[in-house]
Amino acid sequence: MISTALTDLWYGFGVALEPHNVMWCFIGVFVGNMVGVLPGMGPLATISILLPLTFGIKPVGAILMLAGVFYGSQYGGAICSILLNLPCHPPHAVTCLDGFPLTKKGRGGAALGITVISSFVGASWGITEMIFLSPILVVVALKFGPAEICSLMLLGLLAGSTLARGSPLKGVAMTVCGLLIGIVGSDIETGTPRFTFGIPNLFDGVEIVALALGLFGIAEFMKSVNQLSEVDTKYTNVKLKDLRPTREEFRRALPAMFRGTLIGSLCALIPGTGPTIASFVSYATEKKISKTPELFGTGMIEGVACPEASTHSSVQGDFIPTMSLGIPGDAVMALILGALMIQGIVPGPQLISEHPDIFWGLIASFWIGNIILVVLNVPMIGLWVKLLTIPYKYLYPSAMFFVCIGVYSTNNDMFQVGEVVIIGIVGYILLLLDFHPAPVLLGFVLGPRFEENFRRAMLISRGDILVFIKHPISAVFIFMCVLLIVMQIYVRLRPPKVLATNIVLATDRKASEAAE
């Protein structure tokens, strides 16, 4: 098992080291790192903007690049949190707690140095996990029939919508909306147009690019316009030599890194708990086991190393269910899956055997990408820090152009630009009502496959709805769904400790903000 995995990995390096693939990987991580640093731009918006540009390139290059944007932005986000105290990206919100005090003490450079090392350690572990775990998962998943696939998707959707940010009920509502948007267009079996309102442009369904750019582009811009304050660049003068941590700092950060990595990789295995939750849990754990918990929040290097390592290990781990089962854990993964589907590749357990170049090339490119990121971040820190000062008022109008032209170029159809405007308005209204639109994309991407497998399962079982609990594996998934719902209700009625610590963290943050 191990030796085949290593042979496959060797093959993957062959693919990823082809010059054009290295180039796409480099562009991906570079752009990712850049948007990670820029306040007000997230990986979701960026991947959706870049998605139409990848139609012309080969699937391997496209996926390497889009994945690179995702993990690259995690490196950049840390810079923003540590030097500016701006949690522009949710996974790095906890990094602010100790990162910014370190900056004020003049050790911001060292915190960044530790971040780069922790990120690399965390990411390396996440990739290793993917190499050995995915083939095992695939062996199991290839035995699944339509009923099992259906229950597994249900579990994925439920986990993705209830464990993410905000109210679980609203998350479920958004997922159902996503599934419904996935229905728009011609029915796969009978060809009946559904929910098209008689508009011929909608017969092919809603384009994923239009949906993603409406929800994460236009709606986000409407939310952020005039809301971002001028950044305080007082502490952003970081030079290359400042990055080196002292021996003492490194000694303290090292065990925290490994603990963070472990927590992150565990969180990655539970669908729906992405990097944000991983970073919160690891910070809380680190604080708990520390001998001096009262010093957290005043600039403890452990408080930077641990959440950063866990974020990165969970970011890489997120790719496991996406690539091996075809079930994305969050909106970013849904987009990457959407990109695969646009390239004509059917996601699912057969992906590794049918397209080994994509799977193993992607894994190998993770190593290459992470090494590029370390190289990019260390000597070029000055450049990234400069980027922090680009004002939002220049960013979003430029992004608007990319939104328009990107949507237009998917089908050369002006109608879709109008679609984006409408989706943007709806998305903003949903944001105002406290709905987080990320699960919409999850439902949208899984919807058609969910319906297809559901119909197939019903056909095979001759209309017996109980088939989902009669098959043992499927029954396990359904049981986990029920467990998830029961857990959510229990959490609502009686908040457990983890939640309580999160609330404490949040109040801590508010207090420290007030003290500024």
């Binding site: 809301q227 990319f402 019903m458």
Partner: protein, 156 residues
Amino acid sequence: MFGTLVKKRDFYAGGLMTLLGAAITLDSMAYSLGTLTHMGPGMFPLMLGLTLTLVGVLILGTAVVTPLSNDENILPKNREWRGWGCILAGPIFFIILGEYFGLVPATYSCVFVSALGDRTATLKGSAVLAAGVTFFGVLLFSYVLKIPFPMFRLGH
């Protein structure tokens, strides 16, 4: 009780989802439902519509039981009508000018109008930004990626 209920954000959130769910349930009846074994095109939407209605009612239910919080305003404190208007006007300009005059005017107007949404934006600053984006955008999309969108055209 009803008086405080209509002030809550979740009342509108739940209401919206309930209405949407009900509308979809009704609409899916128009397609053939089929049987469970041979599902017609209407069956899956019907199930989703019912689920959405149920979830909407549950959200409404939580709105009834949770006490009124201090922040129930749906619109943010600063109403950015100018920002919102400009951001939405950008793509609309892009559609109209792109359809009749080509890529360059479409790009320029889209960036220029969107940029005006920022409260500190000036006409001159926006014009310069729009010119820059147009230059690089046209270079990238027309020359490198070669999308079929003429730089200039008159009429349709």
